[in-house]
Subunit: 337 residues, 2 copies
């Protein structure tokens, strides 16, 4: 069977099974394959480990992705996963595949953007690898430190910690990045909505911000379940629910949509972008209402309750409209293969 | 200017400059860009960090690289760099780009080979990322721990520690992997020399062994300068010399060539493969003669003195024949772009 038919989640389950059968349990692995980042112990010190890639033709096109932005984003998407574990990033390596005809100035600009993000998030870029290839692709590897409790034990935000009666909440707004991607792909379709440097939607897609401080505050305020919205709200909530063995309901009318998106797309399109668009890198979390309130009091960005965790088929997510009817979706979000 | 014209070493110097200008010195980085692996300090614990990639069409062809072997090699080349720092590997992440038409069985076999290597080297594979793309490419990210002295300080093997009057020595033999690659690329040209599972040259290329115990012993026995031979003996020795601000002379007749290579290639070709072929993943090191002797007494694989470090233009490497005349080479080794 071809990978395209199998799909990404079954692929990951399959490779995790291959690896676990071959390797057996490893004493130093606290959280392995299947969460936003891995958590390991090394000489008594806890560490988060993460890798995520940006591939030309899949995640970006060189025609519309300026190299500075690509460098920024390549690191940011990894920092976002460390944030979704409640941790802080430390050091990064950069594995870069380059077409031989790429201009040196392009590479310089890419590294400037990367360095800018590294500075913003407090990351040391300590090495990497370069290779020729038919496209441009970058894998960033990032280490981080988890939040610790008073006894020095890690208190990571996990996909598997959601419980029935938890509220489901989200930082910031959704759909901006997906709207920006649409503008980049078919720029100029809607009057007044053009992709460009000054456009907030374009910027939401090309220059996302990792919710680093917010993730740390979540961990400190007793939240235990979180995931970052990279593939789409519904799809990522499904993953969180599946890992936790629970289901969820989302109130569509509560979902905070990017304010600019409503200017460029219909209400229905905007909601669809917010529910399934992905790449906003907001933090989606589940916690008892008191914890959500404590978070809300401390976090600077808006925190919106959008639904609740319920008992039910693990991984099942229902999106409800104002009358309690289920909203039908084209799909849960981004398909990797 | 295009990357292909610039070349890999100037590219790395350029990106290191961009990054260092933007980031400034980072207190926790002991060894940054420019050695076999980075050495950082995290909460008082020293750690090695490394990434290296295998790209279809550049490092391998799917037609002749069995997926098990590719999985094995993808991890091994990274372990080799940890070995070249005198360290031990800990945890790995795997960033995999797959063509959507790749068969699931291929991916299963790839992960089996990866798991086999992980078991052999004591590595925990704790996560990764998958993406679609036009080719198959894999970046492995590996953490490790450096050897420590009695006071708990790291004693890494560095490219920058070679000194005039050090001997230059190598573990194992050279040229086997490059010979194997030639057989894979034009199989059947020489009678009795066919690429295949049972052929030791093919195996040297597809299933290299990282000199992990040997690297550790080098560090313990007071060796301070080493590099693994990934791009070719001469090229890698040039790098070691450049980083150390020294030059080197190699006695061509002393270079240990892979015994099987001489059966399939002329003496001249075999020497050329050994000097510039690369991918043997042997450890090339420079040390005073007493340290070389101590290493030789403890290491199980052959250790051969092949030359000496001298004063001279930093990075200059002369290869001398039996009469002391300089051997002319087509090039120093593998070109990345």
């Amino acid at each position: 069977m071809e990978i395209a038919r199998l799909g990404e989640q079954p692929l990951i389950q399959r490779l995790a099974a291959t690896l676990s059968a071959s390797l057996g349990p490893h004493a130093d692995v606290v959280v392995g394959i299947g969460d936003d980042a891995a958590l390991v112990r090394n000489a008594g010190v806890y560490q988060l480990l993460k890798t995520d890639q940006q591939v030309e033709g899949v995640h970006f096109q060189r025609e519309w992705a300026p190299p500075e932005d690509l460098g920024w984003k390549a690191l940011t998407v990894n920092v976002s996963d460390i944030a979704a574990m409640g941790g802080a990033p430390s050091a990064a390596l950069v594995s870069l595949m380059l077409r031989p005809d790429v201009e040196v100035e392009w590479v310089d600009a890419f590294y400037r953007g990367l360095a800018e993000a590294a500075k913003a998030y407090g990351v040391a870029i300590v090495g990497g690898d370069t290779s020729a290839g038919p496209i441009v692709a970058v894998s960033v590897f990032l280490t981080g430190v988890p939040a610790l409790d008073g006894d020095g034990r890690p208190i990571p935000l996990l996909r598997s910690s959601a419980r029935p009666r938890d509220l489901v909440a989200i930082t910031g707004s959704l759909g901006g990045a997906a709207a920006g991607l649409r503008l980049l792909q078919r720029s100029g379709e809607t009057p007044g909505c053009m992709a460009g440097e000054g456009d907030p939607l374009t910027r939401a897609f090309l220059r996302p911000t990792a919710r680093l401080q917010e993730g740390r505050l979540l961990a400190e305020e007793g939240v235990r379940a979180a995931i970052d919205v990279s593939d789409g709200l519904v799809g990522d909530l499904q993953r969180l629910c599946l890992a936790s063995g629970v289901a969820a309901e989302v109130d569509a009318s509560s979902v905070p949509v990017h304010p600019q998106a409503t200017n460029c797309f219909s209400a229905e399109e905007t909601l669809s972008l917010a529910l399934t668009g992905g790449e906003d890198y907001e933090l989606l979390f589940a916690a008892p209402s008191e914890a959500v309130e404590r978070v809300r009091a401390r976090v600077k960005v808006p925190v919106t309750v959008i639904g609740r965790i319920v008992e039910g088929t693990p991984g099942a997510v229902r999106v409800l409209d104002g009358r309690g009817s289920e909203v039908r979706l084209d799909g849960p979000g981004w398909r990797h293969f």
